[in-house]
Symmetry: C2
Subunit: 405 residues, 2 copies
Amino acid sequence: MGLIVQKYGGTSVADIDRIRHVASRVIKTFDEGHQVVVILSAMAGVTDGLIELAHRAARVPSKREMDVLLATGEQTTAALLAMMLTELDYDARSMLGHQISLLTDRCYGNARIHDIQVDRIQELLQNRTIVVVAGFQGCDQDGNITTLGRGGSDTSAVAIAAALKADMCEIYTDVNGIYTADPKAVVKARKLDRISFEEMLEMASIGAKVLQIRSVEFAKKYKVPLHVRSTFTEGEGTMVVEEDAGMESVVVSGVTFSKNEARITLKQVPDQPGVAAKIFAPVAEAGISVDMIIQNTLASGQTDLTFTVAKGDFEAAMQIEREVIGKIGAEDVVGDDNIAKVSITGVGMRSHPGVAARMFSTLARENINILMISTSEIRVSCLLKEKYAELAAQALHAEFGLDAD
Amino acid sequence: MGLIVQKYGGTSVADIDRIRHVASRVIKTFDEGHQVVVILSAMAGVTDGLIELAHRAARVPSKREMDVLLATGEQTTAALLAMMLTELDYDARSMLGHQISLLTDRCYGNARIHDIQVDRIQELLQNRTIVVVAGFQGCDQDGNITTLGRGGSDTSAVAIAAALKADMCEIYTDVNGIYTADPKAVVKARKLDRISFEEMLEMASIGAKVLQIRSVEFAKKYKVPLHVRSTFTEGEGTMVVEEDAGMESVVVSGVTFSKNEARITLKQVPDQPGVAAKIFAPVAEAGISVDMIIQNTLASGQTDLTFTVAKGDFEAAMQIEREVIGKIGAEDVVGDDNIAKVSITGVGMRSHPGVAARMFSTLARENINILMISTSEIRVSCLLKEKYAELAAQALHAEFGLDAD
């Protein structure tokens, strides 16, 4: 007997039949005696359709009005599920962002949650009502509708679970859980039974798309146990939990790669104070995120400076830097967007020295040249030529003992 | 320089191009120096599509959740219009029912308005913002979403106009205004320049579908001048205003007919106290509205009792009365659903005696038999065989001097 928050993603509520299946899963949990809060995404494709509609209405749609428009997607699924549950004689009620006072800042399209008034939800739960919350949406203190960004329903779910001090937050999706690597690229990938918040955070930030990264930050901060599992099969998924002693014995828990990378190098940049700012300020002003940066001082007193951006930003960033090199007196700018980033992640790295070296040796054994390296406390990432991405991931997966039997 | 409320119906916002056209009309009014509040319906067909979706989710959808679902239709059009106006450099903001505290009772699907907090709208108008309100929706005092019934956006518009003490409430639709008769049936029908609230009420209640009847009641009560006009043409439409002396000189201002009628007669009912209640109580319990009732006492001390219902309720009502006649000892029940009701309306009737007689003579001249008669202070209605409806309307239209030149 506990309080369970369940979040169902867009593919889980893609049509009436799938919503009916969600209803049956919700009822199963409720009938086991739990209090249940359900958070829903919009039907798969609906949000994209609304964005397209908005762009037919306006070249640059008002961000405030975009959120008003997008919020209808989750409102629709929440109403439909509540109808189905009611029809099956369960007391159910849909709740929109403003109805549970899910208060956010006014950053339309990417709002952050400040507070949630859970009194109303708690009152309903005590009356044995199933509460169906429209995910992805909140409101600011003036009652304007806001949305939480792509994957924001994950964050809605975790934030509500945290506010309610829920016993479990279940994230239902179209995969069985978190894998040691992408099963499409690494055939011997295994589903993980458990993973720590820290590892999940690193994996979410380097291409694992199962959870919105902010939802993991939230879960970590408020210690909300997550269970990532499939809507469509019955088995257990992956528990995302606080790190414990057992986890350290595993050196690497996952291998990920991203092909959404591009690399730009400015050659023979004068090595003077303030030059880096001149290189990166115009990129930031254009709204382009820079990932890795390497600076390599040459014997000549000049320096080569290399950085990476997402592939979609490559052309724009190249254009900017072509203008920059004239102003700062660098020699040339060259770029490459046939690049991938391969990463290994694991809390065990903290207590096992030499993990990075073992990664480099493995890649060397496969004759894969490393273009750039970046590390965090529990992650090592290497930039490679794109064509080596799968080979590198498979080799690392085997090297760190992750291959399925 | 005034405060203008404009309401645009479903066909006026049926797609992006039409909403763009609405934007241009709104801007034209704003640029003339007026403060403008726009009330929008859902795109034509969207509400029906959502109702169908709900019925695929549940046989009898929860009324509360149906309103949550339906409210998305107006939310969508309000956001899209506000985006367009913003793109064209006009300050515009969408407002949902709860955001303007359009408070209603909790009668989901057919809620009545209790109050509107206009402070926020007034503040926006004073800052030269165009306020775009999602019609049809409100909320109860606990924040549950409610809707106002078919055509409810008319009522939203009139209620908001009344609360704001607007100078004019313009109802934009796909017809040019209010006609002396349905132009599809009576080719010589003319558009009226003016009509009184009372006449509009009678016409709305007997089949003229231009305005929701409750919106007219509201306009009459709060003396909100209405201007019913076309979105698609530039000309003036019909003003719905308080009765004035000039209107009395016109005896009949409109001829309407409805084919949505059925008649049921109970024969040789014992003429005892309490019998009528036994006949009509079970009909009311089944949610069936009865329109006309005639009782005709026979020489035998018994009575024939005839009443009319909407055509869609005919079979159900017949079924009920077949059971009733056994209980009350009536002889038989017979029915007919090939029936129409033709009405003439005009405030001038109050000061012109003999209007009803002139109507009966006109019908007699056309050899049309009158089956039932009902009257109000400013209306006379006759029940006829359905096949005579158009002929009767044309003859009455000519008789009372309404034909166009």
